[in-house]
């Protein structure tokens, strides 16, 4: 069954083509599209799970299927499925664009699946571009055209700038080593990391991944794009597309970074700047999506801590944190999507009285935010604990201290949101929020998952350690 090697990719590609076909045929029917997307992504999860143990290097070593990539493909499929779950009525995207929306979301996931398997700089570049282009269009699809288009253009301009830098970095690397294959680079760069040009190439190549990860200094698009895109698209950006960024940066740094003390310094600066900027800017935000956007920037900083350890335990903690971020961010956005019933942006004050209007959503919001703030026994706490332990093993004491101070700052603004949901009284009459039974089940399950994975992380950590075991 060699077909299973590329099972998830081929399947997602076909699904995306299907939606493209529906879109070409006209006759929009969003109910049917949503049901189809739900079934397709559900089967996709099963397929990705069954392809977990595949292992091969394909297409003259540019494409690598190993446990690391398969784990991330599974996470991506789960993320896609979860996002589709909340896309029942994407109010902010026109009826006639709904099938495009699904097609693009599947294409984007496909691109990210290719990205996590990329074993060649050009594969990485191409799949990164494919996923970014899908996202540019998705962001611009918003019904309120001015917001969507503005956000899309901003996203696009920053994005192409980052990818230009990335291409330049790749060219430098190629010039120095005459290869673009990651395995070959790993060997060729051995002992060359001290050379300024090599380092320049590596750092510039990283810029594309940092853009994906919303990390300093490529974070400037985040608040505006999060605010400008439709809520569901923002959820996808925040929860799912970050996964691919983490996977790509892990594979790249693991391949080329060994012995790069200077590279660690660069990542360290980016990490500190990212979390400090993100957290301080988030304090004054009033728009919940903007706030979560800045919190994403801060989390990119925490992720970099795990990456810059250049150790297996650090990489494993990043993989675990990827899972944690997926669940936490998705839960927070689930609440955003459901509370902003008509698809508009959500002001923090609009959460007032949420605990009475919908206790389930309020609880989900509280647990997810506490998890993001690293309060035990949630998965966010365990993830941060693992990352910090890995960093301390490498002696990054000051870095961990700064990170913990940042976690404290973040608690402050998460508490502002929780206070609004639990302690503020709404102005004027607001009725209860109609939450369907499946949504309630989903929210409860997510809360359960966050607490369970926080209390019992071992099985996930085991998988994560096995996954990073295949990295060089």
């Amino acid at each position: 069954m060699r077909w299973m090697l590329l099972g998830p990719e081929v399947y997602t590609f076909l699904a995306a083509l299907g939606f493209l076909g529906i879109s070409l045929a006209g006759r929009p029917n969003s109910g049917r599209d949503h049901l189809a997307a739900l079934c397709l992504s559900g089967v996709g999860v099963l397929l990705a799970a069954s392809a977990l143990s595949e292992d091969a290097i394909l297409f003259s070593e540019v494409y690598r299927v190993d446990l690391f990539s398969q784990v991330f493909k599974l996470l991506l499929s789960v993320g896609l499925f979860l996002i589709v779950c909340i896309c029942g009525e994407v109010r902010e995207i026109r009826e006639e664009n709904r099938s495009d929306f699904f097609a693009l979301i599947f294409f984007c996931t496909l691109a990210m699946m290719l990205l996590v398997s990329g074993n060649h700089l050009l594969t990485l570049y191409l799949s990164l571009e494919l996923s970014s282009y899908s996202l540019y269009v998705l962001v611009s699809l918003r019904r309120a055209r001015d917001m969507g288009v503005e956000a899309g253009i901003k996203f696009f301009l920053v994005g192409i700038f980052a990818s230009a830098l990335m291409l330049f970095g790749m060219a430098v690397l190629y010039a120095m080593t005459r290869t673009m294959n990651l395995n070959a680079l790993n060997g060729a760069l051995h002992g060359m990391m001290g050379q300024p040009l090599v380092l320049l190439g590596v750092v510039l190549t990283l810029s594309g991944f940092l853009f994906k990860l919303a990390c300093f200094p490529f974070h400037l698009w985040v608040p505006d794009v999060y605010q400008g895109a439709a809520n569901e698209v923002t959820a996808y950006l925040a929860a799912v597309s970050k996964l691919a960024g983490m996977a790509a940066i892990l594979r790249f740094v693991a391949s080329v970074g060994q012995g790069g003390a200077d590279l660690v310094q660069v990542l360290l600066v980016f990490s500190v700047a990212s979390m400090t900027l993100g957290n301080l800017a988030a304090i004054t935000q009033q728009d919940l999506k903007r706030l979560l956007g800045y919190s994403t920037v801060a989390h990119a900083g925490y992720v970099l801590i795990g990456v810059l350890t250049l150790s297996a335990s650090g990489y494993a903690s990043v993989v675990f944190y990827a899972l944690a971020l997926l669940v936490m961010k998705f839960t927070a956005f689930l609440v955003v999507v459901k509370v902003a019933g008509n698809g508009t942006n959500l002001h923090i004050n609009q959460l007032a009285g949420l605990h009475r209007r919908s206790p389930v959503l309020a609880m989900a919001l509280m647990v997810s935010l506490f998890s993001l703030a690293g309060i035990p026994p949630t998965v966010g706490f365990t993830g941060k604990f693992l990352i910090f332990v890995a960093a301390m093993e490498k002696g990054h004491f000051a870095l961990v201290l700064i990170a913990m101070a940042n976690v404290l700052i973040s608690l402050y603004y998460y508490l502002l949101v929780i206070k609004a949901a639990y302690l503020l009284e709404p102005e004027g009459e607001t009725g209860p929020i109609a939450v369907s039974a499946p949504t309630k089940v989903l929210a409860t399950a997510l809360v359960g998952a966050m607490v369970l994975a926080g209390f019992y992380p071992y099985p996930f950590m085991e998988i994560a350690q096995a996954a990073v075991g295949v990295l060089p």
Binding site: V149, P196, F381, V400, P457, Y458
Partner: protein, 655 residues
Amino acid sequence: MMSLLKDPVLLAAALGTSLPFLSMAVILVFTRQNQRLSATISVGSVSVSLLSSLYLLITLYGAGAPVQYEFPWLLADDIVIPFGYLLDPLSLLMLTIVAVISFLVQVYSIGYMSGDPGFSRYYAFQSLFAWAMMSMVIAPSMLQLFIFWELVGLASYLLIGFYYEKWSASQAGKKAFVMTRLGDIGFFLGLIILVLGFGDLSIVRMNEAGQGHQIPQYLITISALLIFGGVMGKSAQFPLLTWLPDAMEGPTPVSALLHSATMVAAGVYMFSRIFPFYSMSPEAMALALAIGTVTMLLSSTMAMATYDLKQVWAYSTVSQLGFMVMGLAAGGYFAGVFHLTTHAGFKALLFLCSGIFIHEYHTNDFRIIGQQGGRKLMIPMVCMTVGALALSGIFPFSGFFSKEAILGVLANHPNKLWLGAGLVGALMTAYYTFRLIFFMLFPRGVAAAHGVHDAKGSGHGHDDHEGEHHGYIFWTMAVPVMILAGISVVLGFSQSSLESFLMGHGSVPAQLAASGGEGHAAAHDGHGIGHYALLIGAVTMALGGIFWAFMEFGRKGATQEGFLRAFPVVERLFAARWYMDAFLRAFLDKVIYSGLTNVFTRNDRRVIDGGIDGICFFTVAGGRLLSFLQSGMLQYNLLVMIVAVGFVVLYFLLA
């Protein structure tokens, strides 16, 4: 499951600590609407906890070696941390304290909170607290302790902000949470260092290895100092002490349970938990002693300048916690834990009595309560006086014995400065305590009619309970108060049996004794002439404080102004908490808000402000897009990227 049934001790430990969690879940999910049922479930589960903790205490009284149940909790292949239960004299004692006070406070709350719209929610949070606190107390590893330590903080946040219509309450809750977390940064870092340096967070093994010099000295000192950060946050030690007085915005039973008797004592408890480990670092002990002393003196002065009933007790809690830390840091393991025990009793008593007055008169100002005839409420007035006598350290009340024990330890310390500070603290404690009592007992200008309620500072929103003084609501509050008063009278006499229990074979200090620790010497050295001199000195201080207060506030014709009135600057300094809050506020406003955050968000504002000027839709749309492109935002954004990357490049080319 079978092993659970075969082993009654394990069953009791598991049942006692996890039932409150179940009760919280049940209340939140099913019985929110039914207030009476919610209260029954919560009180029922906490009574089971109480019974099982008493059972454990009796069964394991002479057990010798600590009973430990450990289940490995795997974080990753190389990080294994035990979870489960550690039952030794210290944890059993603390478990019993927590269970008793939780039980009494929950019973009391039936009356105090009756009619509140959030009644069920209140009991759910109470159950959450009971679960987290008890699981923390019997934690066998520092990480489990830390996890439940944070959950206790969460319960505290929820309970302080319980009156959500009060802006100040939710602010106070946030402040408490964030400030204690600030201390927890140190705690957490200390734990990580220990994991990496020693590889084990089991409390028993940590203590043994610390005593056995198996951990390098520098590692002990660093981690002990960092872990002390957690104590500073949770037990409100200087400079993280201002959250505790603010936390009094919550319901009064919450203040009694969390913010005086149990939760804030968690810091001191954690300190005594790893006392053998900690005492191996003289540097850390010296720092703790200094911090404890500063805290005790500072907060005593603050208590002399406030007229808010609960604030006085809050400051006195902070100062007594500082006193406990002093006792522990001077090497007096038993003295510190003993004072923790007696303090839990009499401070809960004082708060619950105050709660009855606040419930009755709808004000926190004890001058007004006195004027409106507070002394007519005989039961709480008598009980409160009992608590005040215990707090001041008057024989035969419990506070006398435990204060005496700590002063004895301080007297054995080579540096007599600490003893002097302790005695001054005792004087101030007696003074501010009886200042309050005399204001209430001998009010001036009893003109105000009983019915005129000053709503200022009143915590809760129901008014119709006139004439129910002897209804069930009054008795649910009065009975717990009387029980606590009884405990405060007799607890002191159990000193020797408690001492033999805590210091017994297999317990923490038994190991200390083997290594000739200072604390052991202190505990047994106090029976000479010096001891009696100290005894007389301490009692003189306490009586002197009471007499002083009597001269200023109690006797006929007293001005009731206090000596502080003569020094307005000092009074303002005390009332403003030595400007610690003002300093913090200014720092937040100036540096964080208007400084850093402002810079980072200017980017946002420029985009938004630049775009809203248009009139019709298309103008706005086009205008925003153009303004974005033309106002330099794009250039600005790209410039940031180029500059950042450029710096990196420069760094490498030049380096």
